[in-house]
């Protein structure tokens, strides 16, 4: 069951994402079954769990990516700031409020500048000066500006892996998202860059809600206020992250996973 913290801002903040009895199916396969919990504003919400646990499907459902996959079926309810996302008429507007970072960096085949300017341009922004400001601000916040400021016109896909991942974070920030979803962002990134990105996330927390899917238990421990443990399509635990490590979790399997005794 969901257990709230006795102190701290997390429990008192309004609900950003409400998940109620969410199930996700691909054809006859079940990816996620009967998941319910709330994600609160300005918290970093970690999701840990082994492969095939339904973590990525969960993110896809929030962003309504089921619209692009006729095989994917979502049941139950997800609310975004109190609005049922199934009833949102302008799903494009919903997606613009949600930034997504993928496991493998996807540098679009555009220049560094155009990568970051793409989202504002999609909404119709053409003013060069405004775009310049957005590009510099987002790249700076993604801790990439100093490395690319002299080659904004070179290809985004030609940057190194770690730089590309920070570029995708800058791109996500250019949407000025209320929610940032990161799906195992450090999988193709060196440890130093990972730490830099983690520092960025800690700063971003004051401005947005962050969902951090990770397969690194220690990363969740470093960043997440609360953490959910997904296993084989079920959410076994949602708790204050530190409780995972002090043994105060209800499910034995969660304890085993966190302690690396999973097999």
């Amino acid at each position: 069951m969901v257990r709230e913290s006795n102190s701290g801002v997390v429990s008192r903040a309004p609900v950003k994402i409400g998940v109620d009895n969410l199930s996700i199916y691909y054809g006859s396969e079940t990816a996620l079954e009967g998941v319910s919990f709330d994600i609160r504003e300005h918290e970093i919400f970690g999701i840990i769990g082994p492969a095939n646990a339904g973590k990525t499907s969960f993110l896809k459902a929030i962003n309504r990516m089921d619209m692009f996959n006729s095989n994917m079926r979502v049941e139950g309810n997800i609310s975004f700031s109190g609005h049922d996302i199934r009833k949102v008429r302008n799903v494009y507007g919903l997606r613009r409020r949600i930034g997504v970072v993928f496991p493998l960096p996807v540098g679009l085949p555009l220049s560094v500048y155009d990568n970051v300017a793409l989202a504002p341009r999609l909404t119709g922004l053409k003013d060069k000066a405004e775009l310049n400001v957005i590009v510099e601000r987002c790249l700076t916040r993604a801790a990439l500006w100093d490395e690319v400021k002299d080659r904004l016109n070179s290809l985004g896909s030609m940057l190194s892996g770690g730089q590309q991942q920070r570029l995708t974070i800058a791109r996500a920030l250019s949407q000025e998202p209320e929610l940032l979803m990161l799906d195992e962002f450090s999988i193709a990134v060196d440890p130093v860059t990972t730490m830099r990105i983690e520092d960025v996330l800690k700063e971003l927390k004051s401005e947005m809600t962050i969902i951090l899917v990770t397969n690194l238990v220690q990363q969740a421990r470093r960043l997440a206020d609360r953490t959910a443990f997904f296993l084989e399509g079920k959410c076994l635990d949602v708790c204050i992250t530190e409780d995972l490590f002090t043994g105060e979790v209800s499910d034995q399997r969660t304890r085993d996973y966190v302690e690396g005794r999973f097999g």
Binding site: N63, M65, F68, S70, Y92, G93, L94, R95, R96, I98, V100, F102, L104, V106, G107, L108, P109, L110, L118, A119, L122, T123, L155, S157, T168, R171, Q175
Partner: protein, 291 residues
């Protein structure tokens, strides 16, 4: 036995490797040989009639003298009008099939139909064009009817080439855009199409070659043996190089031997010229390729 001494098995593999290397190389050489022979023969036998007069004057004296200008102009017009019809239609259809169409039996049926369309013999296209464009739509035997017939015939080339090049653009690019709140069309317009242009041009190159060379589809629909004047618009009939080649090779007695070779040489050079324009464009775009 020393460490690096070849075993019997090693030697067998090395021997085979040599055989296959020369065999495959030889096959490639045999492919190039006919091309070289054709070009050499055409240049050798066609050169005597080559001149600016040959290119830019009307045929005279029962086509045995004078030039081939009406046919040259006619072929260029036929190709241009055919491209104007088939490229927008083919690219649009390919975009729909690749980016929008749901994966169901209907889409699969359409794809199958396109492949079958590519297999229809050109003489059947000719008769279809005669029935549809010349008679039903009342375009008469005209450049328009002939070009539309050619367009229908080459549509599969454009559609398949475009669809393949669209699908070569990684899915991750689309998903990144969709996640940002881009519509399907914004994604296509900004990311997918710019990266598929080189492949689409390849399809157009193939189409140009085929369109310029075809004879059967235009025989009944717009091309004529001989016209004493140039076409004034798309509803006029025209001469065409491919048909002209057929005529001067088989239909006219006492034709000087060099003329058919000259016509063939002009036709091939025209196709090469049109191709080289799109190849140059393609190389320019590929230089800007982004991933």
């Amino acid at each position: 036995m020393s460490m690096f001494e070849a075993t019997q098995n090693n030697r067998k593999n090395l021997g085979r490797q040599k055989i296959f290397r020369y065999l495959l190389g030889g096959m490639t050489a045999m492919l190039i040989l006919p091309v070289i022979l054709i070009m050499a023969t055409l240049i050798y036998k066609g050169a005597p009639v080559m001149s600016l007069d040959f290119l830019f004057t009307n045929p005279t004296n029962g086509m045995t003298e004078g030039g081939i200008f009406p046919a040259l102009l006619g072929t260029i017009l036929l190709v241009i009008v055919a491209l104007l019809a088939s490229v927008p239609l083919g690219v649009a259809a390919a975009i729909y099939l690749s980016e929008y169409a749901p994966d169901n039996w209907f889409t699969r049926a359409i794809n199958l139909a396109i492949i079958n369309l590519a297999g229809v013999p050109s003489i059947v296209h000719a008769l279809f064009g005669l029935g549809a464009f010349v008679l039903f739509f009342r375009f008469g035997t005209s450049i328009l009817a002939a070009s539309l017939t050619l367009a229908i015939m080459t549509l599969p080339v454009v559609i398949v080439a475009t669809r393949e090049s669209l699908q070569a653009v990684p899915m991750a690019f689309r998903e990144a855009c969709w996640n940002m709140g881009a519509t399907r069309w914004q994604t296509i317009r900004r990311i997918v199409l710019p990266n598929a242009v080189t492949g689409i041009l390849t399809g157009v190159i193939l189409e140009v070659s085929r369109t310029a060379g075809e004879t059967a589809p235009i025989m009944f629909t717009g091309a004529v043996f001989f016209l004493p004047f140039l076409p004034q618009g798309v509803f006029d009939q025209t001469m065409a190089l491919s048909l002209h080649l057929f005529v001067v090779s088989t239909q006219v007695p006492e034709m000087p031997e060099a003329v058919p070779y000259g016509v063939a040489l002009v036709l091939i050079c025209l196709v090469l010229l049109m191709n080289s324009v799109s190849i140059a464009l393609r190389m320019y775009l590929r230089g800007k390729k982004k991933w």
